[in-house]
Symmetry: C2
Subunit: 192 residues, 2 copies
């Protein structure tokens, strides 16, 4: 078996698991059920994913990691603060729209993660918040935005994250348009 087919199979198992967990809950989904849904026996299933908690970890961590990489790329581009914030918001909403099941599972179930897995996810999550604070600070430094309490970032992320609950992929607004609508309100509200 090549590395590629292992990765492809693993990714398929994780995507199907995300749908099952989103529908029936992490605790409400058994490994037998997951095996049936992906058409793999117990042995093959464990080969790809190791354990149920490992799947929850992968579901949670993959998206947060993607968002961190995306934020790092944007921060490296030296964009001015408003553009940076808009791009970060658009990237997050595009990702949530594409991976609603994964984000639903992450927000609802990450508390079921234990030990190092939980720590890793929380650390990655804090890094992401840090990038938002950095973006806001760059705006303050450039004299474009007023100084705001650090906790405002949690409000901004709440605004954006919560879309996993209601965003309609076939609705009137695209993820970019929803992001812009929110940022239109926010940026005016925190302008210097």
């Amino acid at each position: 078996m090549t590395a590629t087919s292992f990765d492809t199979n693993r990714a398929r198992v994780i995507a199907i698991a995300a749908d099952l967990f989103a529908r029936n809950g992490y605790h409400g989904t058994g490994m037998t059920e997951l095996g049936q849904a992906v058409g793999l026996g117990r042995g093959a299933l464990y080969h790809y994913i190791g354990s149920k908690e490992a799947v929850l970890y992968a579901i949670s961590k993959d998206q947060v990691d993607k968002m961190n990489s995306y934020a790092e790329e944007l921060l490296d581009q030296g964009l001015e603060a408003e553009e940076l914030l808009r791009q970060m918001a658009r990237g997050l909403l595009r990702n949530i729209a594409e991976h609603r099941a994964e984000w639903a599972v992450f927000f609802r179930e990450y508390t079921a993660l234990t030990g190092e897995w939980r720590d890793h996810v929380l650390t990655a999550r804090e890094r992401y918040e840090g990038y938002w604070r950095q973006a806001l600070s760059s705006g303050v430094r450039d004299g474009v935005l007023r100084k705001t309490p650090p906790l405002l970032v949690k409000g901004i992320l709440g605004m954006l994250n919560y879309t996993y609950l209601w965003f309609e992929p076939d609705g009137k607004l695209s993820p970019d348009e929803v992001a812009d609508m929110f940022l239109d309100a926010l940026i005016e509200g925190i302008r210097a």
Copy 2:
């Protein structure tokens, strides 16, 4: 048994169930476990709550109903829009701070509700969103706020609701202060 002691016992069962569901998931908590936690046998437990889904319904519905009553009272007072929005935000954050387990269960688990129960909770929820839209519209009518897309309400509620995940009752900021911090940013951003 008087009506009062029935209600008190039922409320106690629901509060303990909220903690258990928040910690171990709705699907991950059995009625036997709940019975042990509240110190009631199967018969007495069913007497107070009927079914596990009835508990989830009560947990979800009670808080949303309280927020609807609170919003209705405020809307009746004829406050000017900015004050109205601030009071609504403060009331919600105070309630979330006091009932974090209930809100965690509601946001994570309401999809497990079926049939009429689910419909009732979603309808109550939509009514609450409607009150926020009403408050924003009153500001537009009075020439204080600019007209914003209806979906902005979902962003505002995301900002506020998401506090169930991070608000620290012993932290530096009170629920009112967090609400004001968010509203400071938002109201400036949507001023006419």
